[in-house]
């Protein structure tokens, strides 16, 4: 069993009691809710005549179904309008703060939590969304949960969970130019498998992680779940504290910052902490990683050959064969040159300001390929405003990208933004599952945001480092 890790410490601090079934009851410091997974939970509360226990520790946003083009109400999609109205009624009745689009603070739940300064080290955070692991970037213990568990949290501000093992993923060395956080996490999932993290929480550590800004750390923690780990975290450090200090919340409450900092430092993993497993990755060996298949674990360096199914572990072969058929790729080829129809810059993985800045440097002075439709969907209204103020919107639009409003958008195709037919999409999102982007014949290639920008301008999956006079700052 692990001992002395951040996970152990934060777990103990939040443990209410052990339940008769052997699970622990944990207090939840922050409950984030959105329109897709919460309405049924509110319904169950009404059936049981239970009030929301801690509306003050609950925060709502709307992201999955929100249109990114015309957001005037009522939404043209009746189902989306219905979900939005339901959320509005639920938060109003319960007295829960709601970052709706009129507030200027709306956005993807895993972008807005940190922006609001509410995602903090040493907090337990849950949300009915598997990418809640994102918040672990701040040293929070953050889990995605299902709707019945949302009911539990609304009713009690606690959750029943079993403690898991901790795997330290030590990423040493420096990333090369054009290689970034997304490539680290895609490589981790490729190596450890989509189910390799089942039963574990991942602690990301090492020089390459420490060198990342908060946004990069969020990209990594975000995709922990794609590796089967329910949570992932990075120990908080000066980078974390600086980021938090400049949020509106701590700017308005500087004494709160000073009060909490010792706590944040106290929950860092001890130098002699014990782990259930340790894995080493050398960041300096990494290339930009792209996926060739239909699980996030089916990734490969941009210039490496797509594996033959028979060369993979036996339990991976069948999935690989089906994936290669769906994607229409052949073993031995590289993904470099794979034609795309759509470029999507967005999602809770890679739609924060630094992501858009890096991508904008790639598209500046270039034009989106004439056969490609390209779109940027900022992760939040704050990201959107900041990007517009510094001219990124103009850069993208001049290059031929559509500039949209904040939301989950084409990451999962619950609004109008969807692939059509068998379109192939270069995507900065997190899942390449069949049907994920709204068309069951659609083909998704996951990659980092600069690689999406490069694919948009060339019309095919491209090693961004090969573009002429490319700005990889």
């Amino acid at each position: 069993m692990s001992d002395g890790t951040l996970y152990d410490k934060v777990w103990e601090k939040h443990k209410v009691t052990e339940l008769p079934n052997g699970q622990d009851q944990l207090f939840v410091g922050l409950h984030l809710i959105h329109e897709v997974t919460s309405p049924q939970a509110f319904g169950m509360l009404r059936e049981r005549d239970i009030e929301v226990a801690r509306p003050d520790l609950t925060l709502a946003t709307v992201d999955h179904i929100v249109p990114t083009a015309d957001q005037s109400r009522p939404y043209t999609d009746d189902a989306a309008e219905n979900m939005m109205s339901e959320l509005e009624a639920n938060v109003r009745d319960a007295g829960i703060d709601f970052l709706d689009p009129t507030t200027g603070d709306q956005g993807i739940v895993h972008v807005v939590g940190p922006e609001q300064g509410l995602t903090q080290p040493g907090k337990t955070i849950v949300c009915g969304d598997s990418h809640t692991s994102t918040h672990g970037a701040f040293g929070a213990l953050a889990f995605g949960i299902g709707t019945s568990q949302i009911r539990d949290v609304l009713a009690t501000q606690t959750i029943a969970m079993e403690k898991q093992k901790v795997r330290k993923i030590q990423v040493d060395g420096e990333l090369g130019d054009g290689v970034e956080a997304k490539d680290i996490i895609l490589e981790i999932i490729r190596r450890l498998g989509t189910e390799g993290g089942v039963g574990y929480v991942y602690e990301y550590a090492g020089e390459a992680i420490e060198n990342l800004g908060m946004e990069g750390r969020m990209s990594i923690c975000n995709m922990s779940i794609e590796g089967g780990a329910r949570a992932g975290y990075v120990n908080p450090d000066e980078t974390t504290f600086e980021w938090l200090e400049q949020t509106d919340y701590f700017q308005d409450n500087p004494e709160e910052f000073e009060k909490l900092k010792p706590y944040w430092e106290s929950i860092q993993s001890d130098d002699d902490a014990e782990y259930d497993d340790v894995v080493h990755i050398d960041a300096s060996e990494l290339e930009p990683v792209v996926t060739w298949g239909t699980t996030p674990g089916q990734g490969i360096g941009i210039n490496d050959p797509i594996p033959a199914p028979e060369d993979l572990a036996e339990d991976k072969q069948d999935t690989a064969r089906r994936a290669q058929k769906h994607m229409r790729v052949e073993p031995g080829e590289t993904m470099n040159g794979y034609e795309i129809d759509v470029a999507f810059l967005g999602s809770c993985t890679n739609a924060r300001l630094p992501d858009l800045r890096r991508a904008a440097r790639i598209v500046e002075g270039r034009q989106v390929d004439e056969d490609v439709r390209a779109m940027v969907v900022p992760g939040s209204q704050r990201v959107q405003r900041a990007a517009e103020e510094e001219g990124l919107k103009d850069t993208f639009e001049e290059a031929g990208f559509e500039w949209r409003n904040a939301g989950c958008s084409m990451c999962l195709g619950m609004n109008e933004d969807q692939l059509e037919g068998d379109e192939a999409c270069a995507s900065s999102s997190n899942r390449n599952f069949i049907g994920r982007q709204g068309s069951k014949d659609g083909r998704t290639v996951l990659m980092n945001p600069r690689m999406v920008a490069a694919a948009a301008v060339t019309g095919e999956v491209t090693d961004v480092r090969d573009l002429k006079e490319v700005n990889l700052a």
Binding site: K13, H14, V16, T17, P20, N21, G22, Q23, Q25, F27, G29, V36, T37, P39, Q40, G43, I50, A79, M83, E86, Q120, G122, G128, D129, G144, I145, G146, T147, S148, Q149, A155, T156, T158, A160, E162, T194, E195, V198, G199, I225, E226, G228, R230, K259, L260, Y263, T295, G297, D315, D318, T319, L412, M414, R431, F433, I434, G435, R436, G438, K440
Partner: protein, 203 residues
């Protein structure tokens, strides 16, 4: 206020006929595509289970076990590894439950999915690859054959076979003792919850 002692069924034993769903890494987007989640209740989701695997663009049936008459009455799903990975959507087990599934036997389950199943009283029991393969084959050959899942004893019986399966300790206890719906159970610990909250520096 609900009664903490209100009756939650014990799920120590499930029986029925089986349906094999083959393949590793079957994600919850496949189990219930996102477009069917534009709803505010779980009612009626059963018909959309594995929709894109079961129907083509013109809504014609494709080859899929859930479309086969011989499996229409099945209540035990037999799956492979990392079943239910991806999105945390409870809509996935809700859809399967509403289609008629009472228990799932597989090589392995994604954690959030297994947790969601537990919250619905659906056991997710595991066995190794060979054992599951043999069971899937038997189900194919014996679509009317009864399968018995003994959650307490961690066994599955079918035909003349009895196999050992694993059930996560907490899941087993919760199912067998009828404490898998944790809302009332946890709500009863009001004082301890408040104590924990009071001890947290950030509250």
């Amino acid at each position: 206020m609900s009664d903490p002692t209100e009756e939650i069924p014990e799920v120590d034993y499930v029986e029925g006929t089986g349906i094999p769903i083959r393949g590793n890494d079957i994600d919850t987007d496949q189990i219930i595509p996102a477009r069917f989640m534009k709803v505010v209740t779980f009612d009626g989701l059963g018909q959309f289970s594995f929709f894109d695997q079961r129907f083509d663009d013109e809504d014609n049936e494709k080859d899929h076990p859930m479309n086969e008459d011989r499996f229409k009455e099945a209540s035990l799903m037999v799956v492979n590894n990392n079943f239910g990975c991806g999105s945390s959507r409870e809509h996935a087990p809700q859809a399967l439950m509403r289609w008629g599934i009472d228990a799932i036997i597989g090589e392995g389950f994604a954690e959030i999915f297994a947790g969601n199943c537990l919250a619905l009283g659906i056991p997710t029991v595991t066995a190794d690859h060979e054992t599951i393969n043999a069971l899937q084959q038997w189900v194919d050959d014996n679509p009317d054959g009864e399968i018995e899942v003994d959650v307490a004893a961690e066994t599955v019986r079918y035909g003349s076979n009895e196999i050992s399966v694993s059930v996560d300790d907490a899941q087993r206890q919760a199912l067998v003792e009828g404490i898998w719906d944790t809302t009332a159970l946890m709500k009863a610990n009001q004082n301890a919850i408040q104590q924990t909250a009071d001890s947290l520096p950030y509250l």
